[in-house]
Point group: C2
Chain length 265, copies 2
Amino acid sequence: MMVEIPDSHPRKKSLLSRQKIVEGSLEGLLADSAMIAHGRGEAFDYLLGERTTESARLAVREAASRLSSAISPVISVNGNTVLLAGEGALRLAALLGCPIEVNLYYRTPERVSGLLSLLEEQRAKILEEPVPSGLEGDWRESVTNVPLLGGSADFRIEGLEGPRSHCTEEGIGRADSILVPLEDGDRCEALVNLGKEVIVIDLNPLSRSSRMATVTIVDEVSRAFDGMLAELISNPDCVPSEWDNANAISGSLDDITEFLREKKG
Amino acid sequence: MMVEIPDSHPRKKSLLSRQKIVEGSLEGLLADSAMIAHGRGEAFDYLLGERTTESARLAVREAASRLSSAISPVISVNGNTVLLAGEGALRLAALLGCPIEVNLYYRTPERVSGLLSLLEEQRAKILEEPVPSGLEGDWRESVTNVPLLGGSADFRIEGLEGPRSHCTEEGIGRADSILVPLEDGDRCEALVNLGKEVIVIDLNPLSRSSRMATVTIVDEVSRAFDGMLAELISNPDCVPSEWDNANAISGSLDDITEFLREKKG
């Protein structure tokens, strides 16, 4: 299945991400439409130049400061997020001291447990790596202690029906600030309506999730996690700002317009 | 599997197309990455307003006139095209009196025969329908007589290696003008290098196929087929123009920029 992609390929990272999604799908870790969602993301990332734009960098910084200022932050992950950025999510959760909750729109017990197992594998891999610079001290203990939730849902998100409403009390239920990469618009709206601070990572700046969120990071999910980690390492005392999310989204639309303008040459 | 989508849903057509791709994938008719390709298309179609733009309409007209002026035109189809627009391809082939060739980048005998069977089903469905206005006369005979090629590849596209180079002599081999919706960039380039006129349907105006083609229709594949059919019915004597494809692509980029501008409000 794995096709060798030469290092010289200009879009190597994008193609490797695509392979991860195709393989995760073949392994039954993803819902039927997860590959279609990934393709949409690929297109938007292409139009953003497959890089973290300046407006995204500001959103990454704001998100990092809000999560580190929250009382009970949580990182909610779906299948695509675990496959593309599970290690990044674990590193960020270790630094924040917060749980990760596997929370699926199309929830099945098999997929939840498969994704929790994959997160455990990713955790083991991080523990084998050298401790990242700036994270000395009890880094390995922090990584080891990240609670991985979602296996037994004992709580419901008000305003939603059916399996998509299920969550854990320890994670999403009691959180005041939720990082939800690649989230469905309905769920994003329900979380906002509960008064929670909702930080979305979404490559489509015009999606309903992007427009509903408190802070929207318009960036590829693994770059966004890496960016938040780097921000918290270099600037551990960062504090939330007055944040105009509509203005931030507008900045991402400008980034795409600028990309198209350059391509017209 | 089929989820009921209310008629009132503003994006009903897009969601129905997505279901067709998901189901075709589950039935084994598509390569692993076909759903990802569809997702990319969804994103670009969204950015074009999910409609045939004026610049696409001009490309549709040019494509129709070039295909009807060709000596041996052929319509090359892959899995996504058959699933999304197989009936449209059959109607256009009937009107042009040209063959359809199932030609897959990731060719397997099972997928080729599965797609040929699906085209036969689509043909049967067209034959049960009332004859479209403007297509009286021997319409049903024309539909019945469309050769469906690709089952036994007896020719190779020069400049390509492996299964992706295989084609039929009766179809792509001897064609002077090829309509290739959703084509891979390498194959598009190889066909152009053989001196053939290559008409591409691709929602990404910046893809290599789009930039390589003689005429690029930046439109959703079923809308493009319907548009070409309508053009040939209303204007059967249309003739090819001097065509500046770079200018046409630039027009599609402008369409996206305009969409983003409107969304910024």
